[in-house]
């Protein structure tokens, strides 16, 4: 009777160890699966990042036409400004001459009699 109890106890312990080892095995598998998924997630992110950069390279290789046009428009506007500034300068010369007209006339008159 005593021997039977001992061997049952050993059996029970072995069974418990087996249960624990199986659970450890499952835990290891769960963690390994999580690592695999994590690697997939990262790989997917890297792939998207590469695609994003490739797309950016494509987009950046040419300028959109409207940007070019906008830039040309701005520079031509500057030329118009220069032209307007010159016209204003010319107008201010005209105005200055008109203001000085009598003085210049007197000067010419005096010079006509100076030798």
């Amino acid at each position: 009777m005593g021997e039977k109890r001992i061997s049952r106890s050993i059996l029970r312990e072995e069974l418990d160890v087996k249960v624990i080892l199986e659970e450890r095995q499952k835990a290891d598998e769960l963690i390994a699966e999580a690592r695999r998924k994590a690697e997939e997630i990262l790989e997917e992110a890297r792939r998207k990042a590469r695609e994003m950069l490739e797309q950016a390279e494509k987009e950046a290789s040419t300028l959109p036409g409207d940007l070019v046009e906008e830039e040309r428009r701005k520079l031509y506007e500057e030329l118009d400004k220069v032209e307007r500034a010159y016209e204003e300068e010319l107008q201010s010369v005209r105005t200055a001459f008109n203001h000085a007209r009598e003085e210049i006339r007197r000067l010419i008159y005096e010079e006509m009699f100076r030798w």
């Binding site: 769960l30 999580a34 950016a56 010159y86 300068e89 200055a96 001459f97 000067l107």
Partner: protein, 208 residues
């Protein structure tokens, strides 16, 4: 029974720890993936911006090189117009003044007297001939007569034949070697040369 519940507790603990670890691994992966994507997004937009700026700079340089001759042309045109404007206004004023002098007998006489005075002091000769413009012989003879009175005999002055000019006189030494051009046309050119630099300066000062 105690043995049984201890094993179950160990099993539960192993399960809990494993699940926590798995979740932690996945969470870190998600965070890392997010960071990788954000970095890529930032690099992509920086790359687009940098390249666009470079391309825009090239476009800008190209357009500016197209515009440079036009700007220069505009500048030249403006300077020329400014010059033309002032010269043409000065010409008009000189013409006005000359017309005023010619239209006023007293002023014209005064002009002729001054012209004779200048001719006499600039030509070193004992005898001079005064040539009037067409149609002004009589007037010039009168003025020369008046002028002679102020001279006191030297140099001798004679009125020569009329020449084709529009106002004023030409005085020459009687041997014809020295000429003094006091026609209104010649005087207009001289006055213009003298006053233009002063007018430009005056106008530039006022136009500022």
């Amino acid at each position: 029974m105690e043995q049984r519940s201890l094993v179950e507790a160990i099993v539960q603990e192993i399960r809990r720890v494993a699940q926590e670890e798995a979740q932690k691994i996945l969470r870190r992966a998600e965070e890392e993936a997010q960071r990788v994507l954000e970095e890529a997004k930032e690099r992509a937009s920086r790359l687009i911006e940098e390249r666009r700026q470079r391309l825009l700079e090239e476009v800008r340089k190209k357009v500016l090189s197209e515009l440079a001759p036009r700007k220069l042309e505009l500048r030249h045109k403006m300077l020329l117009e400014k010059h033309t404007l002032v010269v043409s206004e000065v010409n008009s004023l000189i013409a006005e003044v000359i017309s005023e002098i010619r239209g006023d007998p007293q002023k014209y006489r005064e002009y002729l007297m001054e012209a004779l005075r200048a001719a006499v002091s600039s030509i070193a000769a004992s005898s001079l001939v005064v040539h009037p413009c067409k149609g002004e012989r009589e007037l010039v003879e009168r003025v020369v007569g008046e002028f002679k009175e102020s001279l006191g005999g030297s140099p001798e002055l004679a009125v020569g034949e009329e020449i084709g000019c529009s106002g004023g006189v030409v005085v020459r030494s009687s041997d014809g070697r020295v000429y003094f051009n006091a026609t209104l046309d010649a005087k207009a050119v001289e006055v213009k040369e003298r006053v233009l630099p002063r007018v430009f300066e005056k106008v530039a000062r006022r136009a500022k």
